[in-house]
Symmetry: C2
Subunit: 243 residues, 2 copies
């Protein structure tokens, strides 16, 4: 049976802004179902025009663009709470693809209901715009990372960030977090070659900063990682709206 919005396991996390009862009722109406997909499934296809929008409930995914050359640029990592399909919603075509890395569970919304959200729930529309602005902010950060940092700094930074996100979502137990991406995914996200990514991971292992093997991230020295990645340690993530 599908999860009721009122019982949403995600919204209980402190990282997400609370909703009014009326808003929860609207979301429940807006939500048309739940989707369960296997690892490897493609949720959104570049250039396509999905009739659905999603919010990730469980599982991990990837957002990426495929270049003319066949190369891939990973735009970001999709974690629970992330909204998928805004571009398809407002523009009429996705500009990137979204793929499930693990099995995923997603809330399904009908794109056609988006307009009623704007008409009837200005507060929720505002939240949606907020989410878009947050997304823009994060992409800006990533841009700066690719533009100005070297290999080891990029790797350190992305893991520190993922660990922060994981912690805010309760995905971290002890100092471990399941992170079943491939090294190739990481390389494609950081704009590095697979080989160089591999060698950089080895360096961070040797420096006792992190250990990422068999899909499990073990955080050995979070502070050092932040230092290398030029991040504030424990910059507590700001709360954000959940859709």
């Amino acid at each position: 049976m599908a999860t009721a919005c009122s019982q949403c396991p995600l919204r209980k996390r402190g990282i997400f802004d609370p909703l009014t009862d009326a808003e929860v009722r609207f979301m429940q109406k807006f939500k048309t179902g739940e989707l369960q997909v296997e690892a490897g499934a493609v949720l959104m296809m570049e250039g396509a025009n999905s009739p659905h929008l999603y919010t990730t409930l469980e599982g991990l995914g990837l957002r990426y663009k495929t270049l003319e050359t066949g190369e891939r640029q990973v735009i970001n990592f999709v974690l629970p709470g992330d909204f998928i399909g805004l571009q398809a919603g407002v523009m009429n075509e996705m500009q990137h693809s979204v793929e499930a890395t693990t099995a995923m569970k997603l809330c399904v919304f009908n794109r056609s209901g988006l307009w009623s959200l704007f008409k009837e729930q200005p507060g929720r529309a505002y939240d949606l715009t907020w989410a878009a602005a947050v997304e823009e902010h994060l992409l800006g950060e990533t841009l700066a990372t690719l533009g100005r940092m070297n290999g080891i700094e990029r790797v350190a930074r992305v893991f520190a960030r993922l660990f922060d996100r994981g912690r805010s979502l309760g995905l971290v137990s002890g100092r471990e977090m399941k992170l079943p991406y491939k090294q190739q995914d990481l390389a494609d996200a950081l704009g590095l070659s697979l080989v160089h990514t591999n060698k950089t991971l080895k360096k961070l292992r040797e420096r006792q900063a992190l250990d990422w093997q068999r899909g499990v991230l073990r955080m050995l020295d979070y502070d050092r990682l932040c230092e290398i990645g030029k991040l504030e340690a424990d910059g507590p993530l700001p709360t954000r709206p959940l859709l």
Copy 2:
């Protein structure tokens, strides 16, 4: 005297979606004035919380982030029609700065009016979200450029894109376009060193692809530029909402 929204010189350009009369009247009310700034003025400051939102009417600017190390990453180039301050509007703090490269003329909106826009003008709120989605899309493109392309490809691509944008805004006369940015600005946008950017520009000049001197871009071979930058030539820019 300030330009009336009904007479907006930008909206006449085919690149922007038309508005209904009611929408124009609302925008006129929403618009609280016009701002004229000199070259070099900082419009938005990273970390600050501007009470205003802007739409560029005339002039060129830069959106950038300053890193811990003092380096700068240019996020994108601000041209007429671009909306400035969405982040300050919905989140409460800008995550990047915006600076005027030339003198600029801007429509000024009050941040406090944003909420009434969502309440009274769902169509305009939708447009705002659309604008955010477009922004996200463009950042994704840039990310792929920095992540996967080499120096000459990046330079070629950014000029081809700027030329396209300029054309859609009527900033191109003949094959020339005023583009008074510094080489350092370009370098900071592309994630290249100043020196390498300079040498790459020289290559493109020698290859008879473009000539960018004294703030004027002369497009010598647009097709070749697109080819080098792996872009579709004349990919006509999609129409977009103007705010």
